[in-house]
Subunit: 420 residues, 2 copies
Amino acid sequence: MALRSFVEVHPDSHFPIQNLPYGVFKPGPGSSPRPGVAIGDYVLDLSELASAGLFDGPLLSNSDCFLQPNLNKFVSLGRPAWKEARATLQKLLSANEPTLRDNTALKQKCLVPMNRVELLLPVAIGDYTDFFSSLHHTRNCGILFRGPQNPVLENWFRLPVAYHGRASSIVISGTDIVRPRGQGPPAGSSTPYFGSSLKLDFELEMASVVGPGNELGKPVDINEAADHIFGLVLMNDWSARDIQAWEYVPLGPFLGKNFGTTISPWIVTLEALEPFATDAPKQDPPPLPYLAEKASKNYDVSLEVRIKPAEQNNLSLVTRSNLKHLYWTLTQQLAHHTVNGCNLRPGDLLGTGTISGPEPDSLGCLLELTMNGQKELSLNGATRKFLEDGDEVIFTGCCQGNGYKVGFGTCSGKVVPSPP
Amino acid sequence: MALRSFVEVHPDSHFPIQNLPYGVFKPGPGSSPRPGVAIGDYVLDLSELASAGLFDGPLLSNSDCFLQPNLNKFVSLGRPAWKEARATLQKLLSANEPTLRDNTALKQKCLVPMNRVELLLPVAIGDYTDFFSSLHHTRNCGILFRGPQNPVLENWFRLPVAYHGRASSIVISGTDIVRPRGQGPPAGSSTPYFGSSLKLDFELEMASVVGPGNELGKPVDINEAADHIFGLVLMNDWSARDIQAWEYVPLGPFLGKNFGTTISPWIVTLEALEPFATDAPKQDPPPLPYLAEKASKNYDVSLEVRIKPAEQNNLSLVTRSNLKHLYWTLTQQLAHHTVNGCNLRPGDLLGTGTISGPEPDSLGCLLELTMNGQKELSLNGATRKFLEDGDEVIFTGCCQGNGYKVGFGTCSGKVVPSPP
């Protein structure tokens, strides 16, 4: 019989005892940030559990990692400590275990209704890297920007292409996104366009949160890369396509991306995702030895994007995709990132790039869905080529287990107008 | 008569009382990091001065900004506090002022011989951006990579092109640089090259250290941009040209750059550089209004690059350039960076890009000096197309005043072999 918690969890909840994703929250307006895990409609306060001495395993009993304002210290401890924490939490929350279940005062302190808390960025992000690892997305963008001949460049099949993003503008789900101003391509031979972006887009991504880092000059072996990944979040890499198109040659995306990137508040661990591992697509040509892994896997995470226009009460589903569509795996991304000696630090974020699937309704951004504004998307009667002010974009991600879900909750943001 | 310190300063020193650049140091192996300023051959310990109550102005007398392990808090305070600190320090160090001069015990504690201290990164760098603002460098690279027709792309004259770099691998002058491994272009139609980079290069740059930041969604006006720049450092943006050439299309430089970036330890303030301000080059086409500044200025900083091969005792001068050659100014870079609402944080680093001058001996990297390895550079009998293991690269930067210099000291690093 499946593991069950004494905390009541609806079968449709993303947060049963099989998940236990980590986040950072404030229980009330005046309180300090602290780590927690989601369980059903509650947040379990890990600082209170730690203060009560309930992390009694050998690695965590003397650690102050849950008394920090972010998860960086905990994620830096590595997989043995993560496994110990998960075992402790699954035991404490299980239906058969009286320690927390029967201690009303402690339960009162530790279990906070999720609708009462403020969720914060779970980690301090030192560096944020964004990959470009979906073949469908890469091919579609290549066709749109360079035409149908040779839409995927030769290097793409040899290495997980990536660029550095901006860490300062990563925000937590629920934060408004100010429409960026900037330069767009000149129409004809005149001066460039300048003003609010006319082609604001979302990008459906997920991102790895780095656990233990590596020293500068010391690459991570591909078969040890999984031990450097703590877990995953949903990510919306908001993009201004007109700004991007004009600025990105030859040094890549900059102001078209760095005005805001939204992540979901709960980091779902690789341990919780393990039952949903799938074989990664076969790679042809085969990867170079430093990218060839003994087991090459993705995870079966169903992803959905909905848009809610300001004037509507309904959300319109605009795409369904899946993390399993990635061509380059999360571990290949991490190994490639360090092969030159580049150092990762605990809490760094590695985005997958837009995750598009093979079907027309599985494309991960409006650029693809509307063919760069050549056609319109219908939203309950309203139409969109790109995002309008007031639009709210909501991502969800979820794995379907046998009678339970392991989910990511939502990653959402509303577009607000540019400053005057 | 020129301002003079009671601390003896050689006329060739980069650090007279007119300069007073800020850094962070450990006075001895066991001690904690603390802010200091360079004066002649000494470092003045600002934590000791602050503890002795000698910062007695209205803005700093109750601040703990000099009791921090980095300068982020001080630089966040803004220009009025910087001016107050400079006035206090120039007074305390001046030949006529007895407070410090005649207090032997305090002097003993506060003035540490520079050759005894360990210099550290002066700021915690949240995000690092690298611009591409020298027209000479841009044109030379365009000719090498795309041929002599139209070597500078249309967007370059309209906006200061930039990309995000890696903050984690920024190191202080004197740190060894491990030669990166990685993929290079395939020779013919075979698989890509993989191994130690065969085209390791330096890039002569300077970088702005951001003072007060801006809120996400709130651009900085071009005419207020200077108040967001605390000062400048020298920077070597080490580059692996073979890795870069293979990976950079379409998302820009990544592993070809992020294995290491070296900065000089002393931040020279804009106040100290003000006497060396020069008119920036006329821009044609004229900049869009958000980049049009009332006064458009560069600084006359002479820059020199020397290489010392492992087997030689001598340094060979390989280039002489100058910060005044920049096409896009430091303030235009900063205003452009925020025009879309992107937030900067105190301590962020904005690199200028390689600073090449118009002459053949003023080119800022080996890519240009050897025309991507097509010709050899002579170093006291040795020759180089790119850097070899054991090579030490030393940058210096200096402004020549009337009877004194305002300098940056050196920014150096030695290339060590790739891991096996």
